[in-house]
Point group: C2
Chain length 146, copies 2
Protein backbone atom coordinates (compact mmCIF):
# COMPACT_ATOMS: atom_id res chain seq x y z
CA UNK A 1 0.00 0.00 0.00
CA UNK A 2 1.28 3.48 -0.81
CA UNK A 3 0.04 6.87 0.28
CA UNK A 4 -0.20 8.98 -2.87
CA UNK A 5 0.34 12.55 -1.70
CA UNK A 6 -0.57 15.82 -3.37
CA UNK A 7 3.10 16.28 -4.30
CA UNK A 8 3.19 12.85 -6.04
CA UNK A 9 -0.02 13.79 -7.84
CA UNK A 10 1.28 17.19 -8.91
CA UNK A 11 4.46 15.73 -10.42
CA UNK A 12 2.68 12.87 -12.22
CA UNK A 13 -0.08 15.13 -13.52
CA UNK A 14 2.52 17.45 -15.06
CA UNK A 15 3.99 14.44 -16.88
CA UNK A 16 0.55 13.37 -18.04
CA UNK A 17 -0.22 16.86 -19.34
CA UNK A 18 3.00 16.72 -21.36
CA UNK A 19 1.99 13.36 -22.88
CA UNK A 20 -1.56 14.46 -23.72
CA UNK A 21 -0.82 17.90 -25.18
CA UNK A 22 -0.17 16.60 -28.71
CA UNK A 23 -3.69 15.16 -28.87
CA UNK A 24 -5.17 18.66 -28.38
CA UNK A 25 -8.44 17.65 -26.73
CA UNK A 26 -11.33 20.11 -26.95
CA UNK A 27 -13.18 18.75 -23.95
CA UNK A 28 -12.37 16.62 -20.90
CA UNK A 29 -14.79 14.08 -19.47
CA UNK A 30 -14.02 13.29 -15.83
CA UNK A 31 -14.99 9.89 -14.48
CA UNK A 32 -16.46 10.65 -11.01
CA UNK A 33 -15.41 10.42 -8.33
CA UNK A 34 -11.84 9.22 -8.89
CA UNK A 35 -11.09 11.33 -11.97
CA UNK A 36 -12.45 14.68 -10.77
CA UNK A 37 -9.33 16.20 -9.21
CA UNK A 38 -7.13 14.98 -12.07
CA UNK A 39 -9.54 16.29 -14.70
CA UNK A 40 -9.56 19.69 -13.01
CA UNK A 41 -5.76 19.88 -12.88
CA UNK A 42 -5.36 18.70 -16.48
CA UNK A 43 -7.97 21.15 -17.73
CA UNK A 44 -6.08 23.99 -16.06
CA UNK A 45 -2.74 22.79 -17.40
CA UNK A 46 -4.04 22.28 -20.92
CA UNK A 47 -6.15 25.45 -20.96
CA UNK A 48 -9.43 23.62 -21.55
CA UNK A 49 -12.55 25.24 -20.12
CA UNK A 50 -15.00 22.51 -21.12
CA UNK A 51 -15.02 19.81 -18.44
CA UNK A 52 -17.95 17.44 -18.08
CA UNK A 53 -18.38 14.45 -15.80
CA UNK A 54 -19.87 11.02 -15.91
CA UNK A 55 -20.33 8.44 -13.17
CA UNK A 56 -21.19 4.81 -12.84
CA UNK A 57 -22.92 2.60 -10.31
CA UNK A 58 -22.64 -1.14 -10.05
CA UNK A 59 -25.88 -3.06 -9.72
CA UNK A 60 -26.92 -6.67 -9.39
CA UNK A 61 -29.70 -7.70 -11.70
CA UNK A 62 -32.19 -10.55 -11.31
CA UNK A 63 -29.85 -13.23 -12.50
CA UNK A 64 -27.08 -12.09 -10.15
CA UNK A 65 -24.79 -10.77 -12.84
CA UNK A 66 -23.16 -7.50 -12.01
CA UNK A 67 -23.73 -4.62 -14.38
CA UNK A 68 -22.62 -1.03 -14.77
CA UNK A 69 -25.12 1.79 -14.92
CA UNK A 70 -23.87 5.09 -16.36
CA UNK A 71 -25.15 8.50 -15.19
CA UNK A 72 -24.56 11.98 -16.57
CA UNK A 73 -25.18 13.14 -20.09
CA UNK A 74 -22.18 14.69 -21.79
CA UNK A 75 -22.77 17.45 -24.28
CA UNK A 76 -20.16 16.53 -26.88
CA UNK A 77 -21.97 17.72 -29.98
CA UNK A 78 -19.55 19.10 -32.58
CA UNK A 79 -16.55 17.97 -30.53
CA UNK A 80 -13.81 16.15 -32.43
CA UNK A 81 -11.27 15.20 -29.75
CA UNK A 82 -12.37 14.16 -26.27
CA UNK A 83 -10.13 13.13 -23.37
CA UNK A 84 -11.65 10.79 -20.77
CA UNK A 85 -9.85 11.05 -17.42
CA UNK A 86 -9.80 8.67 -14.45
CA UNK A 87 -7.38 8.03 -11.58
CA UNK A 88 -6.67 4.38 -12.38
CA UNK A 89 -7.39 1.67 -14.94
CA UNK A 90 -7.78 -1.18 -12.45
CA UNK A 91 -10.07 -3.93 -13.76
CA UNK A 92 -10.88 -1.52 -16.59
CA UNK A 93 -14.60 -2.43 -16.51
CA UNK A 94 -15.77 1.10 -15.81
CA UNK A 95 -13.58 2.78 -18.41
CA UNK A 96 -14.50 0.18 -21.02
CA UNK A 97 -18.24 0.66 -20.42
CA UNK A 98 -17.91 4.44 -20.47
CA UNK A 99 -15.83 4.45 -23.65
CA UNK A 100 -18.33 2.23 -25.45
CA UNK A 101 -21.23 4.45 -24.46
CA UNK A 102 -19.48 7.71 -25.32
CA UNK A 103 -18.23 6.45 -28.68
CA UNK A 104 -21.65 5.00 -29.50
CA UNK A 105 -23.43 8.27 -28.61
CA UNK A 106 -20.82 10.43 -30.42
CA UNK A 107 -19.57 8.62 -33.52
CA UNK A 108 -18.09 11.87 -34.88
CA UNK A 109 -15.55 12.18 -32.08
CA UNK A 110 -12.19 10.62 -31.34
CA UNK A 111 -11.86 9.51 -27.72
CA UNK A 112 -8.67 8.89 -25.78
CA UNK A 113 -8.13 8.02 -22.13
CA UNK A 114 -5.67 9.30 -19.53
CA UNK A 115 -5.04 7.85 -16.06
CA UNK A 116 -2.35 8.24 -13.40
CA UNK A 117 -2.12 4.47 -12.83
CA UNK A 118 -2.78 1.33 -14.85
CA UNK A 119 -2.71 -2.39 -14.22
CA UNK A 120 -1.42 -4.75 -16.88
CA UNK A 121 -4.50 -6.90 -16.32
CA UNK A 122 -6.94 -4.04 -17.06
CA UNK A 123 -9.27 -4.81 -19.97
CA UNK A 124 -8.88 -1.16 -20.99
CA UNK A 125 -5.33 0.11 -21.47
CA UNK A 126 -5.22 3.94 -21.29
CA UNK A 127 -3.79 5.89 -24.21
CA UNK A 128 -1.87 8.11 -21.77
CA UNK A 129 -0.71 6.99 -18.35
CA UNK A 130 2.17 7.35 -15.89
CA UNK A 131 2.64 4.52 -13.38
CA UNK A 132 1.98 0.82 -13.10
CA UNK A 133 -0.27 0.46 -10.05
CA UNK A 134 0.89 -1.14 -6.82
CA UNK A 135 -1.54 -3.48 -5.04
CA UNK A 136 -3.25 -0.70 -3.17
CA UNK A 137 -3.09 3.08 -3.51
CA UNK A 138 -4.32 5.48 -0.85
CA UNK A 139 -4.97 8.61 -2.91
CA UNK A 140 -4.70 11.86 -0.92
CA UNK A 141 -8.31 12.72 -1.75
CA UNK A 142 -9.43 9.44 -0.17
CA UNK A 143 -7.51 9.97 3.05
CA UNK A 144 -7.06 13.67 3.76
CA UNK A 145 -10.74 14.60 4.24
CA UNK A 146 -11.93 11.90 6.64
Amino acid sequence: MIYYSYENFRDDTRKLIGEVSGFEPEVIVAVARGGLTLAHAMAEGLGIRAVESIRTELYDNDVKREGICIFGECDLLNKKRVLVVDDIADSGDTLEAIMQKLQNDNPQAEFKTATLFYKKTSIHQPDFTVNEAPDWIDFFWERDFK
Copy 2:
Protein backbone atom coordinates in the same frame (compact mmCIF):
# COMPACT_ATOMS: atom_id res chain seq x y z
CA MET B 1 -2.97 38.34 -4.06
CA ILE B 2 -2.56 35.11 -2.13
CA TYR B 3 -1.33 31.71 -3.23
CA TYR B 4 -3.86 29.20 -1.94
CA SER B 5 -1.86 26.01 -1.41
CA TYR B 6 -3.05 22.43 -1.16
CA GLU B 7 -2.48 22.60 2.61
CA ASN B 8 -4.71 25.69 2.90
CA PHE B 9 -7.33 23.92 0.81
CA ARG B 10 -7.15 20.74 2.90
CA ASP B 11 -7.67 22.59 6.18
CA ASP B 12 -10.52 24.76 4.86
CA THR B 13 -12.24 21.83 3.16
CA ARG B 14 -12.26 19.92 6.44
CA LYS B 15 -13.98 22.88 8.09
CA LEU B 16 -16.51 23.07 5.26
CA ILE B 17 -17.25 19.33 5.54
CA GLY B 18 -17.97 19.85 9.25
CA GLU B 19 -20.37 22.69 8.45
CA VAL B 20 -22.20 20.80 5.71
CA SER B 21 -22.57 17.41 7.40
CA GLY B 22 -25.82 18.32 9.22
CA PHE B 23 -27.52 18.99 5.87
CA GLU B 24 -26.88 15.37 4.82
CA PRO B 25 -26.77 15.92 1.05
CA GLU B 26 -27.51 12.89 -1.15
CA VAL B 27 -25.72 14.25 -4.19
CA ILE B 28 -23.10 16.90 -4.94
CA VAL B 29 -23.18 19.08 -8.04
CA ALA B 30 -19.75 20.48 -8.88
CA VAL B 31 -19.55 23.76 -10.75
CA ALA B 32 -16.79 23.18 -13.33
CA ARG B 33 -14.02 23.97 -13.45
CA GLY B 34 -13.46 25.80 -10.15
CA GLY B 35 -15.57 23.50 -7.97
CA LEU B 36 -14.30 20.13 -9.23
CA THR B 37 -11.44 19.49 -6.79
CA LEU B 38 -13.50 20.75 -3.84
CA ALA B 39 -16.50 18.62 -4.83
CA HIS B 40 -14.27 15.54 -5.05
CA ALA B 41 -12.74 16.15 -1.61
CA MET B 42 -16.11 16.90 0.01
CA ALA B 43 -17.71 13.82 -1.55
CA GLU B 44 -14.93 11.67 -0.10
CA GLY B 45 -15.17 13.34 3.30
CA LEU B 46 -18.97 13.09 3.43
CA GLY B 47 -19.11 9.58 1.95
CA ILE B 48 -21.21 10.62 -1.06
CA ARG B 49 -20.71 8.59 -4.24
CA ALA B 50 -23.05 10.62 -6.44
CA VAL B 51 -21.19 13.60 -7.89
CA GLU B 52 -22.38 15.35 -11.03
CA SER B 53 -21.07 18.47 -12.69
CA ILE B 54 -22.40 21.49 -14.46
CA ARG B 55 -20.60 24.24 -16.31
CA THR B 56 -21.33 27.65 -17.73
CA GLU B 57 -20.10 29.74 -20.59
CA LEU B 58 -20.49 33.46 -20.96
CA TYR B 59 -21.76 34.72 -24.28
CA ASP B 60 -22.56 38.03 -25.85
CA ASN B 61 -25.89 38.14 -27.60
CA ASP B 62 -26.99 40.44 -30.40
CA VAL B 63 -27.76 43.37 -28.18
CA LYS B 64 -24.37 43.15 -26.46
CA ARG B 65 -25.73 41.99 -23.13
CA GLU B 66 -23.72 39.26 -21.50
CA GLY B 67 -25.53 36.04 -20.70
CA ILE B 68 -24.76 32.74 -19.05
CA CYS B 69 -25.24 29.47 -20.88
CA ILE B 70 -25.45 26.33 -18.72
CA PHE B 71 -24.16 22.94 -19.88
CA GLY B 72 -24.48 19.50 -18.33
CA GLU B 73 -27.69 17.76 -17.39
CA CYS B 74 -27.84 16.62 -13.79
CA ASP B 75 -29.77 13.48 -12.96
CA LEU B 76 -31.37 14.56 -9.69
CA LEU B 77 -34.63 12.63 -9.96
CA ASN B 78 -35.81 11.43 -6.54
CA LYS B 79 -33.08 13.41 -4.79
CA LYS B 80 -34.22 15.49 -1.79
CA ARG B 81 -31.04 17.29 -0.68
CA VAL B 82 -28.49 18.55 -3.18
CA LEU B 83 -25.25 20.40 -2.42
CA VAL B 84 -23.90 22.71 -5.13
CA VAL B 85 -20.15 23.28 -4.76
CA ASP B 86 -17.91 25.99 -6.20
CA ASP B 87 -14.57 27.49 -5.20
CA ILE B 88 -15.77 31.07 -4.74
CA ALA B 89 -18.90 33.19 -4.77
CA ASP B 90 -17.37 36.23 -6.48
CA SER B 91 -19.93 38.26 -8.42
CA GLY B 92 -22.31 35.36 -7.72
CA ASP B 93 -23.76 35.51 -11.26
CA THR B 94 -22.83 31.92 -12.12
CA LEU B 95 -24.06 30.39 -8.89
CA GLU B 96 -27.30 32.38 -9.06
CA ALA B 97 -27.99 31.23 -12.64
CA ILE B 98 -27.17 27.61 -11.80
CA MET B 99 -29.31 27.58 -8.66
CA GLN B 100 -32.28 29.01 -10.55
CA LYS B 101 -32.00 26.40 -13.27
CA LEU B 102 -31.48 23.47 -10.89
CA GLN B 103 -34.37 24.49 -8.62
CA ASN B 104 -36.62 25.07 -11.60
CA ASP B 105 -35.77 21.67 -13.12
CA ASN B 106 -36.06 19.86 -9.77
CA PRO B 107 -38.80 21.46 -7.66
CA GLN B 108 -38.83 18.42 -5.32
CA ALA B 109 -35.30 19.01 -4.06
CA GLU B 110 -33.75 21.32 -1.50
CA PHE B 111 -30.55 22.95 -2.78
CA LYS B 112 -27.78 24.46 -0.70
CA THR B 113 -24.42 25.93 -1.76
CA ALA B 114 -20.92 25.54 -0.37
CA THR B 115 -17.82 27.54 -1.35
CA LEU B 116 -14.36 28.07 0.11
CA PHE B 117 -14.52 31.83 -0.41
CA TYR B 118 -17.23 34.48 -0.64
CA LYS B 119 -17.40 38.18 -1.33
CA LYS B 120 -19.82 40.39 0.57
CA THR B 121 -20.85 41.91 -2.75
CA SER B 122 -21.84 38.55 -4.29
CA ILE B 123 -25.48 38.42 -5.39
CA HIS B 124 -25.53 34.83 -4.14
CA GLN B 125 -24.44 34.25 -0.55
CA PRO B 126 -23.45 30.59 0.00
CA ASP B 127 -25.20 28.60 2.72
CA PHE B 128 -21.83 27.17 3.81
CA THR B 129 -18.52 28.96 3.37
CA VAL B 130 -15.17 29.52 5.07
CA ASN B 131 -13.29 32.69 4.14
CA GLU B 132 -14.01 36.18 2.94
CA ALA B 133 -12.13 36.48 -0.35
CA PRO B 134 -9.09 38.69 -0.76
CA ASP B 135 -8.80 40.71 -3.97
CA TRP B 136 -7.16 37.92 -5.89
CA ILE B 137 -6.66 34.24 -5.12
CA ASP B 138 -4.20 32.03 -6.94
CA PHE B 139 -5.67 28.58 -6.31
CA PHE B 140 -3.12 25.75 -6.40
CA TRP B 141 -5.00 24.08 -9.26
CA GLU B 142 -4.62 27.26 -11.31
CA ARG B 143 -0.89 27.58 -10.74
CA ASP B 144 0.66 24.16 -10.13
CA PHE B 145 -0.02 22.60 -13.54
CA LYS B 146 1.18 25.31 -15.91
